[in-house]
């Protein structure tokens, strides 16, 4: 029975072979959108799920290569999203929206971006501006509310600061303290290395060679 890993490798090999055929036939433009590989179209053609571009290492590497060689590899992720918006506008199509919210993962696929690139500040800025202009939300809301979005059932009159805000501040503080401690430790370690040299190590090695005296 073929394992999932082997199936994944096979899919990536098929995609590589297909890409080589397309390059040989000079039809790469058919599979480029907004300056990058049209992942949805290729996935449909080769009969694998769109999410495989993210989870299959071979497909992920192939997509990056084809973005650069078939598309315009010089565009930044934010520029690709802007190009997609312009392309859709000229075709009279809005960006994908579902129940009043942008469908971010579909936008990522259309723009040829990895999901992690969608988390970039510049990409979010472009999409946020689009969402505000068109009166839609930035991505669907979750079914589980965040702590600070929950109204307490019976507010504590003696509580001057909401517990949620205090918790958030404490979490930020503890994260900052952790990072500070890590940086301090790293700095101290590097300084120690410079200052100590091998002298202490040499002394400790000497100590290990000292023969035991008689002890009661």
């Amino acid at each position: 029975m073929t394992s999932n890993i082997e199936k994944g490798r096979e899919t990536a090999r098929r995609a590589e072979n297909w890409a080589a055929e397309i390059e040989e036939s000079g039809r790469t433009d058919e599979f480029v959108r907004a300056g990058a590989l049209n992942r949805s179209l290729v996935a449909e053609r080769l009969d694998f799920s769109r999410s495989a571009w993210q989870t299959n290492p071979g497909l992920k590497a192939l997509a990056a290569r084809l973005d650069a060689t078939w598309g315009d590899g010089k565009l930044t992720p934010a520029e690709r999203v802007s190009a997609l918006i312009a392309e859709r506008r000229s075709a009279g199509d809005p960006l994908p929206v579902l129940e009043g919210a942008l469908v971010l993962r579909e936008i990522a696929d259309l723009a040829g971006l990895h999901y992690t690139e969608m988390a970039r500040k510049d990409v979010r800025a472009v999409l946020s501006s689009y969402a505000e202009k068109h009166g839609v939300a930035m991505g669907s809301a979750g079914t589980v509310a965040l702590e600070e979005d929950i109204t307490p059932s019976s507010p504590d009159p003696t509580e001057m600061v909401p517990a949620s805000r205090l918790r958030e501040a404490q979490l930020r503080l503890s994260k900052a303290e952790r990072r500070l401690a890590e940086l301090r430790a790293e700095n101290a370690k590097l300084r120690a290395q410079l200052m100590r040299g091998d002298e202490v190590a040499e002394l400790i090695a000497m100590g290990a060679r000292v023969s035991p005296k008689g002890r009661s």
């Binding site: 993210q54 992690t116 669907s140 702590e147 994260k175 890590e182 002394l203 400790i204 100590g207 000292v210």
Partner: protein, 648 residues
């Protein structure tokens, strides 16, 4: 889901480390504890893969934008997440913060390293938990790694570091390791521990590698300092004599020969030890050192362990005195040659504190000043007490009691206690100079103290002029509880929600907070309590505290001898009952906290036994002395080799 933040027990975890990590790390924006818990419940072991794949279940729970950010964060931290997931899989209940620290420190090699040797987890959790994990991963009972780890666990545990020691004999280590292993330790266990980096060897002793390193480094640095002159040169004798004479002229009493010599030596040596017993005039010497140093363009800087001691040193010398914590925070580069660093109350400095100070010494001179008869440091190691008896270090011992302090009788009595004797004492009769002892049964202690307090108050004694210093935590709790209940009968405004302290009560602050100028051990009183803020006077400064600060404040009707170290009051009350922790240094330290009157009460026999018992510092097993000897031998050999080489 219950968040686990306890020492690991080896039982299956209830909350996954990964979910806790996602909830607490702000990189996973938009996912707090509720959403993390919902994700963990819906996805279980597939949590990591689902987030990475932007699974629709993740999007449904947290929303699309947070899901995308989580995928980005997860991808960026795959190695950390992998280790956390693996720790979850093997059921290691390690506190989340420790596990994250581990994951960041060890990176992608972490999993493989721990798989090869699960006992590496000893750095973040207990022997019991780690041994359970190791056994579950198939490590055999007789595996060498198990024996080596047991040795390491002994050295870092209660038998060694836990009692302030920095080493144990190999025999004692193996005996203690046998208890952990449930069988005799293997013959090569010590060697295996050294080979794996879990222990360092010196002759027939083993040390935790960290303390070996620190003691060796302190030995190297102190040896170098002790043989060196000040970087900016020795102050000419004629100049120093003139400066000393000018200083002495401004003092109410002439300096003793030893005091003058101490000031002179501070100008001649880069390292100097000033060992001064109670009433011997240490502060006079420190003032003289500061004044003469400033006159030749040096900058004296006094550091102490506690905030209270720093305040006293600043008042006594009229110079800047800061805590070691603040010094280490402020000193971002080594000290310059014109600095004369004075570590006052140096007997309170443990190995780690002194090691940290020495790492910043740069070109400065160092004067270690303290009373070696007092309690050893709270933290492991002994350095000052050893240097105070070292003939190769420039040192002055001040042991002569001064005329101005002889009226109380306290310094003379303290000298007796130092030598293991305590004369007969009269009973308490009221506010007067001197030392008394009043017999008292343990169950009548609080009432007896209350009665003494009333007598002192009637004589005009201020509340802050008297302090109860109790050697045992049980007595401290009993006394604080008794007086707190009395205070609450007057219905003062109490701390919001907890009511554990109230307006007017004496308190002690238990956390270092350099930004607010608060140090662990700062003492004072609650001035005013409102619902959203509390005003307190701590170490003479008024502070505005928040209700959340309540967890860092404790009652201080009675404090421990350790907490009292470095401070002084006009009168102290010291209850003494039989206890194995009572020894000569504890009685001496408590006794010398008083400027005018010491009131002992309790069991006279227990007091006598304590005074006869050798001081705690002598009972610690430390390696610093041996490292010092080895460093000097190495240095001597080097010099001899250099002389031989020069002749060739």
């Amino acid at each position: 889901m219950k968040q686990v933040d306890l020492v690991a027990t080896g039982l299956p975890s209830e909350t996954s480390l990964l979910a806790t990590y996602i909830a607490s790390d702000r990189t996973f924006r938009g996912i707090g504890p509720r959403r993390a818990a919902a994700l963990a419940e819906a996805l279980g072991d597939d949590l990591q893969a689902a987030i990475l794949a932007l699974d629709k279940r993740v999007i449904e729970i947290v929303g699309e934008e947070p899901a995308i950010e989580a995928a980005a964060a997860m991808e960026a931290r795959q190695s950390e997440v992998a280790l956390l997931s693996w720790l979850d899989d093997i059921g290691a209940q390690i506190p989340t913060a420790n596990a994250i620290r581990l994951a960041r420190a060890w990176g992608p090699q972490g999993i493989e390293a721990v798989r090869q040797n699960p006992y590496l987890l000893l750095s973040v959790t207990s022997w019991k938990a780690v041994d359970a994990i190791a056994r579950s991963l198939g490590i055999d009972d007789s595996d060498t790694r198990r024996d080596a780890a047991a040795v390491e666990a002994v050295l870092t545990g209660d038998a060694c570091l836990g009692v302030g020691s920095t080493r144990l004999t190999v025999q004692r280590v193996l005996c203690a390791a046998a208890h952990l292993l449930g069988r005799p330790a293997a013959a090569g266990a010590a060697q295996a521990a050294v080979a794996s980096g879990g222990a360092a060897r010196f002759a027939d002793t083993l040390q935790p590698p960290g303390t070996a390193h620190m003691e060796a480094e302190c030995a190297l640095k102190l040896t170098r300092l002790s043989s060196a002159r000040p970087v900016l040169g020795v102050t000419p004798s004629a100049t120093l004599n003139t400066l000393l004479a000018a200083y002495e002229a401004g003092q109410p009493f002439p300096l003793t020969k030893a005091q003058r010599e101490a000031v002179r030596m501070s100008h001649r040596h880069r390292l100097m030890v000033l060992a001064g017993y109670a009433g011997s005039g240490k502060t006079t010497v420190l003032r003289g050192v500061c004044e003469t140093m400033e006159a030749v363009g040096r900058r004296p800087l006094i550091v102490t362990l506690s905030g209270r001691a720093a305040k006293r040193a600043a008042e006594a010398t009229s110079r800047r005195a800061i805590t070691v914590t603040r010094f280490l925070l402020e000193a971002d580069r080594p000290l310059s040659a014109n600095t004369a660093l004075i570590a006052d109350e140096a007997s309170m400095l443990g190995l780690v504190e002194l090691w940290r100070i020495l790492r910043r010494i740069g070109d400065a001179s160092l004067l270690l000043c303290g009373d070696p008869a007092q309690l050893p440091p709270v933290t492991p190691g002994i350095v000052f007490h050893q240097l105070a008896t070292d003939h190769e270090v420039a040192r002055v011992i001040l042991d002569r009691v001064h005329r101005q302090d002889e009226t109380t009788g306290i310094p003379a009595l303290a000298e007796g206690v130092r030598n293991g004797t305590l004369k007969t004492l009269s009973t308490f009769e009221g506010a007067q100079s001197g030392v008394t002892f009043t017999p008292c049964e343990k169950n009548k202690l609080t009432a007896a103290i209350h009665a003494i307090g009333r007598v002192l108050a009637e004589s005009g004694m201020g509340r802050d002029d008297v302090q109860i210093i109790a050697p045992t935590n049980r007595d401290i709790a009993a006394i604080n509880g008794y007086f707190h209940r009395l205070a609450m009968q007057r219905r003062p405004v109490a701390w919001p929600r907890t009511a554990h302290v109230a307006e007017g009560e004496p308190v002690i602050w238990t956390r270092n907070d350099a930004d607010r100028g608060l140090t662990n051990g700062s003492m004072g009183r609650i001035l005013r309590v409102r619902s959203d803020s509390i005003t307190a006077n701590l170490d003479g400064n008024v502070h505005e505290l928040a209700p959340i600060d309540g967890s860092f404040l404790q009652l201080a009707y009675a404090v421990s001898v350790h907490k009292a170290q470095g401070s002084q009051w006009q009168r102290v009350i010291v209850p003494v009952f039989a206890s194995r922790i009572l020894d000569r240094s504890m009685i001496y330290t408590a006794l010398t906290r008083a400027q005018e009157q010491v009131i002992f009460l309790g069991d006279r026999r227990a007091l006598d036994v304590a005074v006869r018992r050798p001081p705690a510092a002598e009972r610690r097993e430390v390696g610093f002395g041996d490292w010092l000897t080895l460093t000097r031998a190495k240095s001597d050999n080097g010099q001899r080799d250099n002389r031989i080489a020069a002749q060739l």
